[in-house]
C-alpha cells in the first residue's frame, strides 16, 4: 500500500528536534558563522546529554540495527532528524557529537569486535566525534587515486600509515577535542588500484597522526574542516576494516562504496532541511510585507514572486520525497544505489536554487548579514559538493539507468 504518513515514532522525535533547533541552534547560528574555528561547546554538550537521555544513538550514521523487531525506521528517522537539525543550522548540525561518517564505515565494513571497540565510546559521559579521511590533494571524487599507504610491519603486527588527508569534516574534534577516531583510506598495494584500497581506524592520541591545518570556508563555518598528516603512524593490525589481503576483484572497494547508499540520502536530508528553512523565512518576510502566495491560479495570472515561491515548494517537496524513498528502501533492505544518488543530485540542486533565489528576491535584505538568508546561501553550496558532487552522482545515476559499467561511461 502506497502511504505517506510520517510514522508516530518519528513525529515524537521531531518535536524535540524542533525545540532544539529553535532554542539552541538558531540563536547562535550567526555567531559561529562569524567566529570560525570556535567550538560550540554549549550546543555540543547539550546535544550529547540529550542524546544520552534519549537512549543514545542520537543521529548516529550507524543506524541500521538489523536485529530489531518490527518495521525498520532507523534510516527514515535519521533522515528526519538530520533534516530537522539542518533546518536549525547546517554548520551546527555537523558539530553533532556521536557517530557520523567514520562510524558509518565501521558499521558497514567492521567486525562485531570492531563495532564494540570503536562505537561504544559514543555512549560515555563526554561528547565524542569521529571523522572520515578520504580526500587527498590529488584525489577527490576519484578515490582510486588515493596515495596514502598502509604497510604491514610483520614484526609488530601493526599497519604503518603514511600520507596527507584533507577536507576532513570534524577532524579536529575527533582527534584533539575528544577521544574519538578517524577512518583513513589508504592502499595496501599501490599496484593493485582499487582492489588495494582499505580503510583503517586511527584513534585520537595515536602518535604520527597530526592535525596540520584548519580550512577557512565559504559556509558551514561552525564545522571544522581539517588536514591530517599521517607520518609513520602505527595502528594495530585489527584496526583494518575489511579483508587484509589483496583480492583479484574490487569487491572490497565496492563494498566500501556501498556505504554511500546509506550516507547520500542523509546528506541530501541536510540540504532539504536548509532549503525548508530558507523557504520558510522567505515566505515569512514576504508575508510581513503583505505578499501572499495565491496557490491554485494558472501561471499566467501569478506574479513573478508567486511563481518562484510555488516552484520552490514543488522542488523542495519532491526532492524530500526522493530522500524518503531512498531511506525507506534502505530500511527495507532494497537495493537503493539509484535512488540514493538521485536524492543527492536533486537535493543538492534544490537547496542551491532555493537559497540563491531567496537572496535575489529579498534584494538588499537578502544580501545583508543582518538576516540568515545570505549565510544559508553560502551553507547550501556544500550539499552539491561533498558525499559525491552533483556530477559524480549524475554519473552514478546515468550508469545505472543505462546499465553501463565504468568502462562504458566515464
Amino acid at each position: 500500500m502506497i502511504e505517506f504518513e510520517v510514522p508516530e515514532k518519528i513525529t515524537g522525535v521531531m518535536n524535540v528536534i524542533e525545540t532544539v533547533a529553535v532554542n539552541m541552534m538558531r540563536p547562535v547560528a550567526r555567531y559561529f558563522d562569524e567566529h570560525e574555528h570556535e567550538i560550540p561547546w554549549d550546543y555540543i554538550n547539550f546535544m550529547h546529554t540529550a542524546a544520552k537521555a534519549m537512549g543514545g544513538g542520537g543521529t548516529s550514521m550507524a543506524a541500521g540495527d538489523k536485529n530489531r523487531e518490527g518495521p525498520r525506521l532507523a534510516y527514515q528517522r535519521l533522515a528526519f532528524m538530520v533534516e530537522g537539525l539542518s533546518w536549525g543550522d547546517p554548520g551546527l548540525y555537523l558539530c553533532m557529537p556521536g557517530g557520523m561518517l567514520g562510524s558509518a564505515a565501521v558499521a558497514a565494513a567492521g567486525t562485531d569486535e570492531q563495532k564494540e571497540r570503536f562505537l561504544k565510546r559514543f555512549k560515555g559521559d563526554t561528547p565524542v566525534f569521529d571523522a572520515m579521511c578520504m580526500t587527498e590533494s590529488q584525489a577527490g571524487s576519484d578515490t582510486s587515486a588515493i596515495r596514502a599507504t598502509a604497510v604491514l610491519d610483520k614484526t609488530t603486527n601493526e599497519w604503518i600509515l603514511n600520507g596527507e588527508k584533507i577536507f576532513v569534516t570534524a577532524g579536529h574534534k575527533a582527534m584533539l577535542d575528544s577521544q574519538g577516531f578517524i577512518v583513513v583510506w589508504a592502499t595496501i598495494d599501490p599496484s593493485a588500484g582499487r582492489a588495494g584500497m582499505r580503510s583503517f581506524v586511527v584513534e585520537a592520541g595515536t602518535p604520527g597522526a597530526q592535525v596540520t591545518k584548519m580550512e577557512h570556508k565559504l559556509g558551514i563555518r561552525a564545522s571544522d574542516t581539517a588536514s591530517i598528516v599521517l607520518q609513520d603512524c602505527r595502528v594495530p593490525f585489527i584496526n583494518i576494516l575489511g579483508s587484509p589481503t589483496v583480492e583479484t576483484t574490487t569487491k572490497g572497494f565496492k563494498g566500501a562504496m556501498a556505504t554511500f547508499d546509506a550516507t547520500r540520502p542523509i546528506v541530501a536530508a541536510q540540504a532539504i532541511g536548509l532549503a525548508r528553512a530558507t523557504l520558510g523565512l522567505l515566505k515569512e518576510m514576504l508575508a510581513e510585507k503583505g505578499v501572499t502566495i495565491r496557490y491554485g491560479l494558472p501561471r499566467q495570472k501569478l506574479t513573478s514572486i508567486e511563481k518562484d515561491v510555488i516552484d520552490m515548494e514543488i522542488q523542495l517537496r519532491s526532492a524530500w520525497l526522493l530522500v524518503i524513498k531512498a531511506v525507506w528502501m534502505m530500511d527495507n533492505g532494497k537495493p537503493n544505489s539509484l535512488e540514493s544518488s538521485m536524492s543527492k543530485v536533486r537535493a543538492g540542486d534544490v537547496v542551491n536554487k532555493i537559497t540563491q533565489k531567496a537572496v535575489e528576491i529579498m534584494g538588499p535584505l537578502g544580501y545583508s548579514r543582518e538576516y540568515l538568508l545570505e549565510k544559508w546561501f553560502r551553507d547550501a553550496k556544500i550539499s552539491d559538493i561533498y558525499e559525491g558532487t552533483g556530477q559524480i552522482n549524475r554519473l552514478v545515476v546515468a550508469r545505472l539507468i543505462l546499465e553501463y559499467r565504468s568502462k562504458d561511461l566515464s
Binding site: V6, I310, R317, L321, R399, I401
Partner: protein, 361 residues
C-alpha cells in the same frame, strides 16, 4: 508509515493496463494521430480494463471504493501507451466523476450506472474556455437562477466528443463559484459546430467548441457539491499522465542513445547525453513521488491535499516539457521526424499546463 509499494490488487491492475498500453495503444498511436481517428475497437478494449469502473462504488455500478492512488497508477500506465487514447477511453469519467464527487444521491443513482455498467459511450465535460488566462476557479461562463431553471451563457472549448455526447457536465460561475451542471444533448441554445477543433497535439481526439446562449436546464441538474474536489481529481490525474508521457519519452530516447553510433562509441556513452538522461530520470521520479503523495493526501482527506494536487500538476507540467524536449534533442534530426514518437510526446507534453479538466480518475 511510508511505503512506495503498490498493493497486490493495484499491481494486477497496473499489469493489465501496461499490457494493453504496450500491445495495443503504443502501436496504434502514430496512425491515430495522423488520421485524426482513434479506433473504436481500442476504446472498447481499453474501457473493459475497468480503470474507471474500479473507482466507482458498487452502489452505482462500479467495482469498489474510489482510490485516487489506484487511479493515478492506472492513468500513468495508460498515458505511457498513448495520451490521446487514454483521454478517449476515460472520457466518460469526465461525466461520472463530478457527479460522484459533487452530485446528490439521486443524481448518482440516475446517471452513473447507465454509464459505468454499459459499454463505452460518449460522455464528456466542458470546462476550458477560449481565453489565455483561463482559470478553472473563475470561469467566464455564467449560470443564473430563472424560475424553475438555470440560465447558462458562455463559450467552451476543447470539449472531447461534444457532438456525439449523450450528456455532458458544463461548468459555469454562479454566486462567484464554479459549479457543474448536467447538460443533456439536444438542449436548445447549445451550438456545437460540425467542424472539429485543430490542436497542436491530441489529433486522435475529436474536440469541439460549445457555445451556450440562453440555455435553460432544470434546477435538478445542478451538482450541489463543491467544485474543488473535482479540480483536485483532474490535477493529480493529469500529473500522473504527464509522468507517463515523460517516462515513455525518456525510455525511447534512452534506448535510441544506447543504439546510436557516434565517433566510435554509442551516443549514450557521451556524458553530455548520459547526464541529460540522468536528469530526466530524476525529474520523472521526483514528480511521480509528488503525484503519489498528492493522490494519497486526497484519499486520506489531508487538509493540504488541494494545494499538493496543484503543486503536482504544475510541477509535472514543467517536468514533462523538460523531459520530452530533451528526448527530441537526444534523437537529433530523427527526433524531429514524425516516424519517431518523441515529437508527438513533446507536443503532448506542452499541453499539460493547459489540459485542466480533460482527464480525471
Amino acid at each position: 508509515m511510508y511505503s512506495f509499494e503498490p498493493s497486490e490488487e493495484q499491481k494486477m491492475l497496473i499489469d493489465a493496463v501496461n499490457r494493453f498500453a504496450t500491445n495495443d495503444m503504443r502501436p496504434a498511436a502514430h496512425d491515430a494521430e495522423e488520421s485524426g481517428q482513434y479506433q473504436s475497437r481500442l476504446i472498447d478494449k481499453g474501457w473493459e480494463l475497468g480503470v474507471l469502473q474500479a473507482s466507482i462504488p458498487e452502489a452505482y455500478g462500479g467495482f469498489g471504493d474510489r482510490s485516487v492512488v489506484t487511479g493515478v497508477l492506472a492513468a500513468e500506465s495508460m498515458a505511457w501507451g498513448d495520451l490521446a487514447g487514454s483521454m478517449a477511453i476515460m472520457a466518460p469519467g469526465l461525466f461520472t466523476m463530478p457527479i460522484l464527487l459533487a452530485g446528490t444521491e439521486e443524481q448518482k443513482k440516475t446517471y452513473i450506472p447507465a454509464v459505468i455498467e454499459a459499454a463505452w459511450q460518449p460522455y464528456t465535460a466542458a470546462l476550458l474556455e477560449p481565453k489565455f488566462d483561463f482559470d478553472a476557479n473563475d470561469v467566464a461562463t455564467t449560470a443564473e437562477a430563472s424560475g424553475d431553471e438555470y440560465l447558462l451563457n458562455g463559450e467552451k472549448t476543447y470539449v472531447p466528443f461534444a457532438s456525439e455526447a449523450k450528456s455532458m457536465i458544463v461548468y459555469a460561475k454562479m454566486d462567484g463559484k464554479t459549479r457543474g451542471f448536467i447538460l443533456p444533448s439536444g438542449t436548445p441554445g447549445v451550438t456545437i459546430p460540425a467542424e472539429r477543433q485543430k490542436l497542436m497535439g491530441l489529433n486522435a481526439l475529436p474536440f469541439y467548441s460549445v457555445k451556450l446562449e440562453g440555455v435553460r436546464i432544470p434546477k435538478a441538474n445542478i451538482l450541489p457539491g463543491e467544485f474543488g474536489p473535482v479540480l483536485d481529481a483532474s490535477r493529480v490525474t493529469l500529473a500522473s499522465m504527464a509522468v507517463g508521457v515523460a517516462k515513455a519519452a525518456f525510455e525511447y530516447s534512452r534506448d535510441y542513445a544506447k543504439d546510436r553510433d557516434v565517433f566510435g562509441m554509442k551516443v549514450a556513452q557521451k556524458q553530455a547525453i548520459a547526464f541529460m538522461l540522468a536528469e530526466m530520470a530524476i525529474e520523472i521520479e521526483a514528480m511521480r513521488a509528488l503525484t503519489w503523495e498528492a493522490a494519497w493526501m486526497l484519499d486520506t482527506g489531508k487538509p493540504d491535499a488541494t494545494k499538493q494536487a496543484y503543486l503536482a500538476q504544475t510541477g509535472a507540467a514543467d517536468m514533462v516539457m523538460m523531459v520530452t524536449d530533451r528526448a527530441v534533442q537526444i534523437l537529433g534530426g530523427h527526433g524531429y521526424i514524425r516516424e519517431h514518437p518523441v515529437e508527438l510526446f513533446m507536443r503532448n507534453g506542452r499541453g499539460f499546463a493547459t489540459f485542466t479538466g480533460l482527464a480525471m480518475v
